[in-house]
């Protein structure tokens, strides 16, 4: 676990003979990394800058360069505080908090919980693992449609429970615009928690048994072992899982539309649906771009400090 990571290149840089060949060897790693980095620089950062540029214009159906300063951002700013009746942007922000929060927290919690359970020398692990994992294989629109039918009070869960005899059971969240976002969260959690479970299970398996034996010898309880040793050692796993989950939460556009049935009452708006509809459906590309920039800035505000602290702490 404590590998030293001296720059290996140092070992070869000071060879007596060299010149061209050595310079090439020094630069080769960078040349290899270069294309990927350049591709990302252009297609990710470049395009982000383009979006930033557009956010200061009044682009409608097509991009133009009529600069209008901060007008689009001002619009979004006013909408941020318009809560009664809620503006689309306000709903999008609130929902991102609710959905994003629930999705990430529950996927992490459920994933960890199932991973710990599965790690207890269970027979049939080979069967259970793909079972928790398979939902990820289904595309978003399918998941959404399936859950929409599944939770439909008239032909789904509520009716089935009624038929079983419990007639006062009430579960009409999926047709209640205000509760719809929770249904989206349920569908999303179902879909991704298995993947998180697999990530954590692997991390659990990789923990050095020596450390655990030492803890046992010291008389630590199972609970304390988990809390003080195992879970902290899984921080890198948390990092990867968090990145993946954030990425998926931002991406979820089809899931929202198919679970809610095109977002009635506008109550299940999310930044991704907001951005898409303003840019493409409503032909207000300037506003759409501004919302994308805000989305990115928010993610950066959270992720950059987090990544910084995680990467910094590597035992370098």
């Amino acid at each position: 676990m404590t590998t030293t990571t001296q720059p290996i290149a140092l070992a070869v840089v000071h060879q007596p003979h060299g010149g061209m060949r050595d310079r090439l060897r020094d630069w080769l790693p960078r040349l290899v990394l270069g294309p990927s980095f350049l591709l990302i620089l252009f297609f990710v950062y470049g395009f982000n800058l383009w979006t930033l540029l557009l956010s200061f214009t009044n682009s409608k159906a097509f991009s133009n360069f009529n600069f209008i300063g901060w007008a689009n951002y001002l619009k979004l700013w006013t909408w941020t505080f318009q809560s009664d009746p809620p503006s689309n942007w306000y709903t999008a922000i609130v929902n991102m908090g609710i959905f994003g929060g629930l999705y990430v927290v529950f996927c992490l919690a459920l994933g960890l919980f199932l991973a710990i359970l599965l790690d207890q020398k269970i027979r049939g692990e080979g069967v259970l693992r793909p079972l928790y994992l398979y939902p990820l294989a289904l595309s978003f629109i399918v998941t959404g449609t399936a859950w929409k039918l599944f939770l439909d009070p008239r032909i789904g869960l509520e009716k089935a429970v009624h038929d079983l005899g419990w007639t006062s059971f009430h579960f009409d969240w999926v047709v209640n615009p205000r509760m719809m976002i929770y249904c989206v969260a349920i569908a999303g959690i179902w879909q991704t928690s298995g993947f998180v479970m697999a990530m954590f299970l692997a991390a659990l398996r990789g923990i050095d048994s020596e450390i655990l034996k030492a803890a046992q010898i010291d008389g630590a309880s199972v609970y304390a072992t988990y809390r003080r040793i195992i879970i902290p050692m899984m921080r890198p796993a948390f990092m990867s899982a968090l990145i993946i989950l954030t990425h998926m939460a931002i991406k979820s556009y089809d899931l929202v539309l198919s679970v809610t049935g095109k977002n009635p009452g506008g109550a299940a708006e999310l930044p991704s649906t907001f951005m898409y509809s303003y840019t493409f459906t409503r032909n207000q590309m300037g506003v759409g771009s501004a919302s994308a920039v805000i989305m990115l800035a928010t993610i950066a505000a959270i992720m950059v400090p987090y990544l910084y602290s995680e990467l910094k702490e590597k035992r370098q």
């Binding site: 615009p177 539309l257 409503r282």
Partner: protein
């Protein structure tokens, strides 16, 4: 076909020059059958068909694909498109000029005047309408109607009375799919019924502020709220065709929907006049709130233009107009074709269009993106759906929000 073999090896994406490359979102069996009429007519003239179907979002995904294709400099021969999007492309100079065809075929005379706003920009034709749907219809289950002793409602109050009768008889009076576009579609009719077609025109076509903030608009929202009492509790998010299914099965008395609902009845083997009745929304007889599917033609290289011309001509030919619309359930876009083959509802639709066009009551549906550009139409959706689902609580508030939303989207 050495050109074809080479293009496979090299993978160039330009369409074969004898092919029409068509982007659309007609992906269900019934819709595809209608488009096949056009394809077969083109095949007879020796032209092939390269299908580019992209479903989803009522054309939303297709429009994104179209934007991308145009941005890449690789537009399709033509695309299914809604009015304002066609105008956007025309103003951006991306559409081909098919005015010579229009003059030759005298299209200006046979296409309703209101539609020509979208097909012709600055005197140049760039698009043709394929059909005309209208949204101010109600579809009634005949058996239920007779059971409760109902008659055709001619005013909004009579509609309420009819719905009351249905409620007392224990059926769901009004079947609605609670999605923003469906709710807005219904509201179009409610507004026309409440304030008359002149009011609809002032408020939604002209965006006259006095009309928008008038008491009539407030009363329209009140009326919408009244209709809400006749819905079943599970209506939110329901697909439109499931609501139609409720009427077909006899669970509900009637649905307010555009005439593509006919397709559902036909698929369930129901006949107009025998199993179901089609009436204009009470109070809107004499006006037609339309939406239309159009084909927009893009600027393509010279070798693809012959196919493009053929597509335009074929689409506008009387035979294709009849056959296409028979299958689709809409009315032909040409007003001069025979209605002999159409059923009772179809005949009424055709007659209504002619009359409304002459009177000036042939108006674009706000909900279907034919009264205002998408930015404003979606603002309209926002307010209507929020009102119906209770996030906007009073009609006064709704009126205020409507004006604010429209202003902000301008």
């Amino acid at each position: 076909m050495t050109a074809g073999a080479l293009s496979l090896a090299s993978g160039a994406s330009a369409a074969d020059t004898k092919d029409v490359q068509m982007l659309h979102w007609w992906t269900s069996g019934g819709e595809a059958a209608a488009v096949n009429v056009i394809r077969e007519a083109l095949a007879k003239q020796g032209y092939g068909w390269k299908d580019v179907p992209v479903a989803g979002g009522g054309g939303g995904a297709a429009m994104t694909t179209l934007k991308a294709m145009v941005a890449a400099g690789n537009p399709p021969t033509a695309s299914q498109i809604l009015g304002y999007y066609a105008m956007d492309y025309s103003e951006a100079g991306k559409l081909a000029d098919i005015t010579p065809l229009a003059t030759k075929g005298d299209w200006a005379k046979v296409i309703p005047t209101a539609l020509q706003k979208f097909t012709t920009v600055d005197g140049k034709w760039g698009a043709v309408p394929v059909n005309i749907h209208s949204v101010n219809w109600i579809w009634v289950n005949k058996a239920l109607m007779e059971k409760i002793g109902g008659t055709e409602p001619k005013t909004f109050d009579e509609l309420i009375a009819l719905l009351d009768k249905a409620k007392k008889a224990g059926v769901i009076p009004l079947a609605l799919g609670g999605q923003p576009w469906q709710e807005a579609t219904m509201f179009d009719s409610v507004v026309t019924s409440t304030g008359g077609v002149e009011f609809y025109k002032k408020a939604f076509i002209d965006l006259d502020e006095n009309a928008l903030k008038s008491d009539t608009m407030k009363k329209s929202f009140d009326n919408l709220a009244k209709l809400r009492d006749y819905l079943d509790p599970n209506y939110a998010g329901r697909d439109w065709n499931l609501a139609t299914a409720m009427v077909i099965k006899g669970d509900a008395l009637l649905q307010v929907m555009g005439d593509w609902a006919k397709g559902e009845f036909k698929n369930a083997n129901k006949e107009a006049g025998k199993d179901y009745l089609c009436y204009r929304f009470p109070g809107t007889d004499g006006s037609v709130l339309y939406n239309t599917d159009m084909f927009a033609f893009f600027q393509v290289s010279a070798d693809r233009q012959a196919a493009q011309t053929a597509l335009a001509d074929t689409t506008m030919s009387p035979d294709v107009q009849i056959d296409f619309n028979l299958i689709k359930g809409s009315a032909p876009a040409r007003m001069d074709v025979s209605d002999a083959k159409f059923d009772a509802c179809g005949k009424k639709a055709i007659a209504d269009i002619k009359a409304a066009n002459a009177k000036g009551t042939f108006l674009g549906s706000m909900a279907q993106n034919y009264a205002q550009p998408p930015a404003i139409a979606t603002a309209y959706y926002d307010v209507v759906t929020k009102f119906l689902h209770g996030e906007i609580k009073t009609s006064d508030e709704a009126v205020k929000q409507l004006i604010a939303a429209i202003d902000s989207a301008k």
